[in-house]
Symmetry: C2
Subunit: 285 residues, 2 copies
């Protein structure tokens, strides 16, 4: 199976139709979609485009913000918005909805975490009835305050385990969890619960908490080890390349996707081609 998936944030300058076509043209069979890009063309048209080009959705990003406040501090009904996102996932054929659970509300970290667990409990049956799996994604601790009070795989798993495995899983994103001294044992314990695997690298030093990523291979993350962990835990689904990188985003989408597919085309100085073998024709080893 060709496991490479383009998370469309990586080619941010591309519209959804451009990204779907870009994948199809290059034999990339999977794509991770974002709701703001889907909204530009509508869910039905998105589904049509995907079918026309034979590209499948690895995940829809995102639901969440269950603690009731956006990163900018505005109030939000995360549960209601996530219900809409579940419906949208059904329409576009996404099996997984990624959840970014929300940051600290009212200065109370513990209560915020409880709100997240409660919201997942409320939404899990709704998602399961519709065949959509909720993917709890722990985010890097530097995003705890404003984006995600879930910071580790272990934490996400503790919430997921309260629900059937086909209703709630965890999404392992290298950038967010590579530093965690418990990440290996946590991934092992998450066997049967892994709903997605996202790869990228970290810029050093971090000069922007949200954007400090790069294409896999240019930073401190041991991609081989993390991939071995998720595979030992039984995950054999698509691998999304998801990169927030202002410099990369300024490049044309096609040039970016070429670098995702073919490491030797990368501008990154320390790229290790071996870490980017996802079964794609151009990268099989």
């Amino acid at each position: 199976m060709n496991r490479l998936s383009l998370n469309q944030i990586t080619t941010k300058s591309w519209s959804l139709p451009e990204a779907v076509r870009g994948c199809a043209d290059r034999g990339v069979e999977w794509i991770g979609l974002w709701r703001d890009k889907v909204a530009e063309v509508g869910a039905a048209e998105t589904a049509r485009l995907l079918a026309e080009h034979g590209v499948r959705v690895s995940s829809l990003c995102r639901g969440g913000f269950f603690t009731g406040v956006t990163p900018e501090g505005r109030p939000v009904d995360g549960v209601a918005q996530t219900r809409e996102a579940i419906d949208e996932a059904v329409t576009i054929g996404a099996d997984v909805l990624v959840l970014v659970v929300g940051g600290v509300a009212e200065g109370d970290l513990r209560a915020s975490r409880q709100r997240v667990a409660d919201a997942v409990g409320e939404l899990a049956p709704y998602a399961r009835e519709r065949g959509v799996r909720l993917g709890l994604e722990p985010l890097h601790p530097m995003q705890c305050a404003e984006r995600s009070v879930l910071s580790t795989v272990e934490q996400a798993l503790a919430i997921a385990e309260e629900h059937p495995a086909d209703a709630v899983g965890v999404v392992v994103d290298e950038f967010h969890v590579w530093w965690d001294p418990r990440v290996e044992e946590s991934i092992e314990r998450a066997a049967g619960r892994i709903a997605g695997f996202h790869v990228c690298d970290q810029q050093v030093p971090i000069t922007d908490g949200l954007m400090a990523r790069s294409l896999p291979g240019a930073g401190p993350i041991d991609h081989r080890r993390l991939r071995a962990c998720v595979e030992a835990a039984g995950y054999d689904g698509p691998i999304e390349v998801e990169v927030f990188d202002a410099e990369l985003w300024r490049q044309p989408g096609g040039a970016v996707l070429d670098q995702v597919i073919e490491p030797t085309a990368s501008t990154s100085p320390r790229t290790d081609p071996g870490v980017r073998s996802y079964g794609h024709a151009a990268t099989s080893s």
Copy 2:
């Protein structure tokens, strides 16, 4: 006891003599010193100034970088430099030497962590013979790559526990560990091992991984809860206010220290005076 300690990085514009005098003038009985500032006047003169002004050293910052590479990527003999730092701690009367253990060397996180454990094992007897306690300080995961492969209190404690409690302890810095879902239980387990408690707050969002701090009370950190944890674990030593904040650093040292002592003098909009009660005359409640 007056527990307030000025970590001198907070008043970065001040020289060591200015900082010691500034503390004495305001009744601040403790100071946390940095080696670069000590070097400007020499260790013997530092000791003389401290004695003259009746100010005690809560900690000396820092030894470490055991993985063999500086944050800028240059080679360094961390063990040799830390021996020198231990000697300096003896001269200036610091009971605690803070350790920043170093980042990922040669892309191997696991091996880097082992190097840290080995270096601490090599240095612990040397420190203990001289009456200096090594304080392992876990740093925020966003500094894992280049500064510290120790990211959690639990991790630091696992290394410390291999040695006598008076030889190796852990330093709890709110900024670095507040987000950790295991921080409370880890601090509880660290009873008898806590070698220091550093307070500050986090800027939201993080736009610079090293500098994103502020005076306590302006951010998402629950200071009351963390202080209650370290005190329940038996820590009754000095509390260092340690703030990396470019805006604060541009202010004169005296104005900064006034804000540290007296929250109502602070320019931070969300300051909670109650979180800054360290027994200092101006802040007792």
